[in-house]
């Protein structure tokens, strides 16, 4: 009996040891202090082919400088959870990507190390080379907290074969992408076909893909916005945005040239040639490139309203506060290198944001990137409010409700505006 008990005791002691080991290993360590000084920890969410492109640039940096970079790719879906926890409780990387639309949210809590002194000390670096609207997206309260690596605006992807079949061509017989609302509607009508005669089109002229970003493009073109310029008032239920939302609804239910966005994978539809036009980000380029037999091209988004505007995002290179001065120098060297090589980065479906790179012949040869890049001067980001992430679900719900016909555009946007105003008014 004693032996049995003794055996159990030994086992429970071992078990306890294992448990305590587990607990110890789970507690946050101070990674950043222990790593070799000449190693840079770099986090991003480039899980697609863009990750391979980034890997190549990083390897090249390591070869040229002898500085080791430990790159960690975390899927975007969990990226910010991990990043935020590391910034709050330790273990944050030295360099990380932050999307332009989340800069304010994090900068408000002072997690970034402003880059202004590093930029000023680097005589070979000229901020004026950057496009000013995108450069500014990396600022918070006058401080440069993010170095823009790229810009990824939307553009019009269109199917060349379907355009030729429908006879939408210019004088030379080349497919002609629409530039105005009238041209767009005319093309979409001619491209929407019911081939099997069952009363439901099986080829669509157009399809809404990512509703949120498509909607931001539409309302911005009509002069609408989500928030007032001072970021204190919800303006998405005002006439311009309502008009734009109505236009989107009309494309679906009045002109019937786009499917209702329910259970229809629009982007897959475009890839498979069942949708002739779609407005998507430049980052979708690799997904159409790998589609066999798809003849496509890219063009600027047509003018749906009186203003020129298109939604865009940007990857910002950021670094956490409390870096030692030597480490900050190292980090800056790496960031600067990535920016200098952002033309390599553009190959994977991005657009550089430096004039000196945009004007190079090599960039001109990246056909789709070059076409989309024409829109950079009037790219519209999500509002630079620290509550941008919090108000997003409300306009998402309103757009969905309007396009599915659950509510009228005015009602849906009124409700969203009311909820967003509540969030803005909360201290």
């Amino acid at each position: 009996m004693h032996h049995v008990v003794g055996g159990f005791t030994l086992r429970s002691i071992i078990f306890l040891c294992l448990v305590s080991l587990l607990l110890v290993s789970c507690s946050p360590g101070k990674h950043s202090g222990n790593v070799a000084s000449a190693e840079i920890r770099f986090w991003n969410g480039f899980t697609g082919p863009d990750g391979a492109t980034m890997e190549k640039i990083v390897k090249q940096f390591e070869r040229e400088t002898g500085i080791r970079v430990k790159m960690q790719i975390i899927p975007w879906s969990t990226y910010y959870d991990k990043l935020v926890l590391s910034l709050a409780y330790g273990g944050a990387p030295d360099v990380f990507i932050c999307h332009a639309n989340r800069i304010a949210e994090f900068a408000r809590y002072g997690v970034f190390r402003p880059l202004d002194d590093l930029i000023e000390a680097d005589k070979g670096f000229t901020p004026s080379d950057f496009l000013p609207n995108i450069w500014k997206a990396g600022q918070y309260e006058g401080k440069q907290v993010g170095l823009p690596l790229d810009c990824h605006p939307q553009g019009l992807y269109y199917n060349l074969r379907l355009f030729r079949e429908a006879g939408i061509v210019d004088a030379q017989g080349n497919p002609k992408p629409p530039a105005t609302w009238e041209e767009f509607l005319d093309a979409a009508r001619r491209l929407t076909k019911d081939k099997d005669g069952d009363g439901r089109p099986d080829q669509w002229g157009f399809a809404f893909t990512w509703l949120r970003t498509n909607w931001i493009t539409f309302i911005s073109q009509h002069g609408g916005s989500i928030l007032s310029p001072d970021l204190k008032r919800a303006t998405l239920a005002e006439p311009p945005a309502v008009r734009a939302t109505q236009q989107m609804c009309d494309i679906i239910s009045r002109y019937r040239v786009a499917p209702k966005p329910e259970g229809f994978d629009s982007w897959m539809g475009f890839r498979q040639g069942r949708v002739a036009m779609a407005i998507e980000g430049i980052y979708m380029l690799s997904s159409v490139e790998e589609q066999k037999g798809l003849e496509y091209a890219g063009a600027p988004v047509p003018s749906f309203g009186p203003r020129r505007a298109v939604w865009g995002g940007s990857h910002m290179l950021c670094t956490p506060k409390n870096l030692s001065p030597e480490r900050a120098q190292l980090v800056w060297r790496f960031m600067r290198y990535l920016s200098d090589h952002s033309l390599d980065w553009a190959e994977g479906g991005q657009i550089p944001v430096r004039r000196s790179l945009l004007s190079q012949p090599r960039f001109r040869r990246m056909r789709v990137q070059y076409a989309f890049a024409q829109q950079l001067p009037y790219v519209v980001f999500e509002p630079a409010s620290h509550k941008a992430t919090e108000i997003m679900p409300f306009y998402d719900a309103a757009i969905e409700a309007a396009l599915l016909g659950i509510k009228s555009p005015q009602d849906a946007l009124n409700e969203a505006a009311r909820r967003i105003q509540q969030v803005l008014d909360r201290p």
């Binding site: 008990v5 159990f8 005791t9 429970s12 002691i13 078990f15 306890l16 448990v19 607990l23 959870d81 935020v84 926890l85 910034l87 709050a88 994090f106 809590y109 002072g110 997690v111 069952d198 009363g199 439901r200 329910e262 259970g263 229809f264 994978d265 992430t389 919090e390 679900p393 998402d396 719900a397 969905e400 409700a401 599915l404 659950i406 509510k407 849906a412 909820r419």
Partner: protein, 290 residues
Amino acid sequence: MGYLFIAPYVVLFVAFVLVPVVWGFFISLHNWHVLGEQKPFVGFANYRALLRDDLFGIALINTGYFALLTVLPGNAVSLLLALGLNARIRGEDVYKAIFYLPVILSVAVVAIIWRWMYSTEFGLLNYYLKALWHFLHLPDEFQPVPWLNSPQTAMPSLALMSIWWGAGGNMLIYLAGLRGIPEEYYEAARIDGAGTWGRFWHITLPLLKPSLLFCLVMSLIGSSQVFGQSYILTGGGPHYSTLTVVLYMYQTGFSLYRMGYACAVAYVMFVIVLGLTLLQFRLLSTRREE
């Protein structure tokens, strides 16, 4: 020596249940953003804000609606399956395994399977409905059901999936309960001239009461914590129609990092589940007195 035996459990319980529970209440009294250097004490302000938050109200109603759609119908399905299996048919174990199989799947797997079935354009359900429509020569063109894309059908769709997913679990409990009813009672009833319905109503159901109560209350508690279904399939949409309390808590805490408010939601939920659990104890203890 006894303490050493219970130590592994106690350590885990304290570290992963007790401390978080108390800590969570503490957090709920603060304006607690994960990144905030100051986390100011605000008393019950988060709870007061919850009372005025109509999204929280919507989430509560949606959760109640889900419970309504799953608890009674789900248990009816489980009971029917158990009654069928209790007839001692051939290949009973095979059927048992088939009905129980979904229970061992995680909600993520179940949701991904059903996403394909529910797809408006390419889904299996609409495919069969269309075939049935043509088979019956119904007039008008068949309109596919937008299972997950309309506020009217989204929650019932999630409920249907959840019943499929969970029915096998309760079925086993009911089956055990049915097997525990002595055969003599049925024999006596049969001699007294009771029919099938009479035997079910006057013998099976009363003697199954403990299992019934247990399953109903556990289902009620489980359904009040519904999360994965709407998290994966609908994200709470369309138009907040599948936003449940736990999903709201998750979004507040882990996409917006507003932990104080999320903890307040969690605590209100805790009080509700506590109430349901007390109800369970009450119902089960009256049984013991009988």
